[in-house]
């Protein structure tokens, strides 16, 4: 037994000694030196009602979207324009057609009507005309302020060609419109209709539009021809006016009536302020406390508590109503959370209606909120009882 014990003791001491030296403190677990991540607790409301801004920006007092930058104009560029890349094509000035839209729209209008006629009529006759027309057009443009002048100018040049075209359109228009009261008038209507009347209305802005649309070859050519006819028959225009109203809608004119303006309108969302914390788009707005207070103050002035109702200052009723952009009441105010006393509820509804008659003053630009307003009618708060 002694041998067993001694060997055991020796073994144990050996193992312990070995363990003490080798099984010393285990190496500390490697921990990356990472900075702790700050976690904000954001109410759901903040997500649902974010205003435009920069997601990574700091919260500022005023919400502001990302400042946009006006594209730099490359100094060496040959063309100046809004394109992001330089191209050799000449600038198609978009600005010019815009002011003239009203006047420019009509001139193409007659063309469709003429086209059917031109189709019927041997085309060779008409085609020679356009060439002079384009030549003529630039000249009248500056002078169109005074109408009689362009008429005279155009008359002399096209005259040789005119006699031929004019008769055929008359016949055909007559054929097309089965119920023309006065045939010559109908021709005039068909050809000129609106353009002359509009020209008379807007003489000053006329020049540019006529010249611009021409680039489109076929339409422009045909368009010119009517112009000349218009000029010839200014007297008939007066009689044609009432009838042109009847014919205001013509399926053929739709293309002319379409707004061909490029959808480049509107400015960039721009703010000179540093971008503030916010989402990509406006999710909602909230009435500020002061705005809510202002509204309640106005309603308070319109509110008369029902007479003889005991303990009415203890009641509260929540009224819900809709306002349009200008602050006018839409529909009838509804009782969202009744006070339990119908008279009291009715008085609050009356207050809203009364104020609406007087005109509610609401800050502009927050239609979304005005469209659905809830006001807590509390006599203590609103009437100071």
């Amino acid at each position: 037994m002694k041998t067993g014990l001694t060997t055991s003791v020796i073994l144990h001491t050996a193992v312990l000694a070995f363990g003490l030296f080798t099984l010393s403190a285990p190496a500390a677990l490697p921990s990356a030196n990472v900075e702790s991540v700050a976690v904000d607790i954001v109410p759901m409301e903040a997500m649902a009602q974010t205003l435009q801004g920069d997601k990574k920006a700091v919260m500022h007092e005023k919400p502001a979207p990302l400042p946009t930058q006006r594209p730099d104009i490359v100094p060496a560029s040959q063309k100046v324009g809004e394109n992001s890349v330089d191209t050799d094509k000449p600038i198609t000035p978009e600005a010019k057609p815009k002011p003239v839209d009203m006047t420019s729209a009509p001139p193409p209008a007659p063309t469709p009507k003429e086209k059917p006629s031109t189709e019927d009529v041997p085309k060779p006759q008409e085609k020679p005309k356009p060439i002079p027309a384009t030549e003529v057009a630039p000249a009248p443009a500056p002078k169109q302020e005074v109408k009689p002048e362009p008429v005279k100018q155009t008359e002399p040049k096209p005259t040789p060609a005119k006699p031929a075209p004019t008769p055929p359109p008359q016949d055909k228009t007559a054929a097309i419109d089965p119920t023309p009261e006065v045939k010559p008038d109908a021709v005039a209507e068909a050809i000129a209709k609106d353009p002359p009347t509009e020209e008379t209305q807007l003489p000053s802005s006329a020049p540019a539009p006529e010249a611009r649309p021409k680039p489109q070859p076929a339409q422009a050519e045909s368009a010119k021809a009517p112009d000349r006819k218009d000029a010839e028959k200014p007297v008939k225009e007066a009689s044609s006016k009432p009838k042109s109203d009847d014919k205001q809608f013509n399926a053929n004119e739709i293309s002319a009536l379409l707004d061909k303006q490029k959808p480049s309108g509107g400015g960039a969302k721009r703010s000179t302020q540093q971008a503030s914390l916010g989402g990509e788009k406006d999710q909602g707005q909230k009435l500020s406390k002061s705005e809510q207070g202002a509204l309640e103050d106005q309603l308070g002035h319109c509110w008369t508590l029902p007479v003889g109702l005991e303990g009415s200052e203890d009641f509260t009723v929540v009224i819900r109503f809709n306002l349009d952009a200008s602050g006018k009441l839409e529909g009838r105010p509804t009782v969202e959370k009744s006070s339990g006393n119908p008279q009291f509820d009715a008085s609050a509804v009356r207050a809203v209606q009364k104020c609406d008659v007087a005109g509610l003053q609401v800050p502009a630009g927050k239609q979304d909120i005005w469209s659905d307003v809830r006001v807590n009618f509390d006599p203590r708060a609103m009437l100071g009882l």
Binding site: G4, L5, T7, S8, H12, L23, S24, A28
Partner: protein, 236 residues
């Protein structure tokens, strides 16, 4: 509560440091388990050696016994020596035989019974020697884990008390106390596992040896009864 000190965060976590940080109850448990482990291994070594020797002795005795040597001669050589195993059984049986015939025993039936009794006694004594202290291995194997667990529970209790006192629950503060407490369980398992394995092996070895010795005693009993019959028959 004031004297319960928590390990400083980042303190020494070596085994020795853990042992020194432990409370005295846990220390006591750990020391006790260590002693049990030492004793277990002492027994294991002792038994392994003893069984080995026993097997060797049995082999040698069987070789000599079945070599055709006269039993009287064998008895004379063995009687003076300290015998183990089969030798002891043989000597016990032969002694009884001799005594009976020296005093002129008349009844062979009584002689046979006495010799059997003597051999049983010798066998039991030998088995006792073989299986002695195996019980300690069994006890250590079953109880050491619980003792270690006791130390751990006490250690964790103390460290929780200390945590409550320090009002700091960072892992660096909690960990050393728990590590220190778990050391007790580790030592308990360290003692228990070899004890259980050794107990199973040694007890099976012992039973094999016992079977062998029982077999010998039966065989020798048969030989002796034949001898008795031969001695009694001519007289009769």
């Amino acid at each position: 509560m004031e004297n319960i000190a928590l390990a400083e965060p980042g303190a020494q976590l070596s085994i020795w440091a853990l042992f020194m940080q432990a409370s005295w109850v846990v220390k006591l448990v750990m020391i006790g388990l260590l002693c049990a482990s030492v004793w277990t291994w002492a027994i294991i070594i002792d038994k392994l050696v003893a069984y080995g020797r026993m097997r060797l002795a049995l082999n040698r005795f069987e070789q000599v016994f079945w070599s055709g040597q006269s039993l009287e001669e064998l008895y004379r050589t063995l009687a003076d020596r300290k015998t183990t195993g089969m030798g002891a059984i043989f000597v016990a049986a032969m002694r009884e035989w001799k005594k009976s015939f020296e005093k002129g025993a008349k009844t062979p039936l009584g002689l046979q019974t006495r010799i059997d009794k003597a051999m049983d006694l010798a066998l039991t004594r030998e088995m006792e020697k073989l299986e002695g202290r195996l019980g300690f291995l069994a006890t250590t194997g079953s109880a050491a884990p619980f003792i270690g667990l006791f130390g751990t529970v006490i250690g964790i209790m103390t460290s929780f008390q200390a945590i409550a006192g320090s009002k700091n629950t960072s892992l660096a503060v909690v960990a050393p106390g728990i590590a220190e407490a778990l050391l007790a369980t580790a030592i308990g398992l360290l003692a228990a596992i070899p004890a259980v394995i050794a107990y199973n092996k040694l007890s099976s070895d012992a039973s094999k040896i016992a079977v062998r010795m029982e077999g010998f005693s039966d065989e020798f009993s048969a030989i002796l009864s034949r001898q008795i019959d031969e001695k009694v028959a001519p007289k009769a």
